[in-house]
Amino acid sequence: MKPNIVIADPYPLIYEGLFHILSNTENHFSIYKATTLNEIQHIQHQTTIDIVLINPILVQNNIEQFTKLKASMERTNWLAVICAYFPPALLSLFSGQIQLSDQPNFILTTIHKHIETDHQQEVGEHQFLSEREIDVLKLLVTGNSNKEIADKLNISAHTVISHRKNISLKTGIKSLSGLTIYAVIKNIIFIDTY
């Protein structure tokens, strides 16, 4: 599947430049344009975003909204496109950086690195929990009852219980608090949401 990349930048110059670099490669990316956090959210509703290349200006005064958005997009990597000075605390919210001074090849390498680690994580780390089990686990550790999980996933309560049994069997962890820590370590949920 083609990786989905969002370029979120209020400056046309930066957007056009990144678009050009990403289009002129053998790797086919699906590229989306956004100029606000709301637009990113809108794209997220339609497709799974692999990477967002974002100008920290969009985050600077909307940290709370950004944190929530990030928590709701757990499989997405956020790379900051640095066009000015930003405090380290702000930059620590992103998993990587692209500088205006970077060569196009270097930018592509950076992007690939983040697609790959994301991919490896999915295959390697969650390997033995099925996607459905991960869904159940996520709802479970964020405080949903069996009934609520059943309703949200549109499955029977009986199926939820059988998923829970399998999760405990596979991980070796039975208690809710233990499973919560497991989910945090495996990036299934983020400490912020917990």
Partner: protein, 240 residues
């Protein structure tokens, strides 16, 4: 299950038991028996410490993974020995074992600084609070109740004076306590990323395994020995 240890009998030397399975040192401490034991046999040590040999053999064999069937049934007098043993266990967990484990977890967090480790610390503290509540409950409610029951049976007081609270109900607590311990071990062995704290984590795990071994026997004693014995007294008192 086949045990890797020998069955313990009364005329064996206590020092030999320790040489074979060093957990026996911990068991002696729970009984209130002090080292050194010189060349004394199980029988001699029991006599000195006023412990029924059959109680000693039953417990010691549990430590060796062997289900020993006592030659004579335990008497109500043995209840005092058993309760004394369990109280010593509780003291050891609360004053020594748990604080030590807590220090290791704290140290791991200082070294690897992962937010997940902080969560494990919180998890373990919650676990300790739960266990402490359970142990306090035993110390303050269950054990006094049993001692009271024992006195009543001895003096043949009328049934109406006995508070007919039943001891059976508190068995469930134990499985819960063991479950959380297993969870922590799994997180430490399989999942928590490691940064600069291999040796502390090893010490922590050794401590957890030790605790689990002892705690498991402690639960077996309460569930399979103490509770049936108390139920017997309860039955007798009800009959009058």
């Amino acid at each position: 299950m086949q045990s890797k240890y020998k069955m313990i009998i009364a005329d064996l030397k206590v020092s030999d038991l320790i040489m074979e399975n060093y957990y026996i040192i911990l068991m002696l401490e729970h009984f209130g028996i002090q080292l050194n034991v010189q060349e004394k046999t199980v029988e001699e040590v029991c006599l000195e410490n006023n412990i029924n040999v059959e109680v000693f053999l039953t417990f010691a064999n549990l430590f060796n993974g062997i289900k020993y069937i006592p030659a004579t049934e335990f008497t109500f007098e043995d209840l005092q020995t058993i309760i004394g043993y369990l109280k010593n266990c509780h003291h050891y967990y609360i004053e020594e074992k748990y604080p030590k484990i807590r220090r290791y977890i704290k140290r791991i967090h200082e070294l690897n600084k992962l937010p997940e480790t902080k969560l494990i610390e919180t998890f373990f503290n919650e676990y300790i609070n739960e266990v402490t509540a359970h142990l306090d409950y035993e110390n303050n409610v269950v054990f006094p109740y049993i001692t009271n029951l024992f006195n009543q049976s001895k003096h043949l007081l009328p049934v109406s004076d006995v508070n007919l609270y039943s001891v059976t109900e508190y068995k469930d607590h134990h499985s819960d306590i063991e479950e959380k311990l297993t969870d922590i071990k799994n997180l430490l062995i399989k999942y928590l990323p490691q940064h600069n704290e291999q040796n502390v984590r090893r010490k922590l795990l050794f401590s957890l395994f030790e605790l689990e071994y002892d705690l498991n026997i402690h639960s077996q004693i309460e569930d399979n020995i103490l509770v049936p014995l108390v139920e017997k007294v309860e039955q007798q008192l009800k009959k009058g």
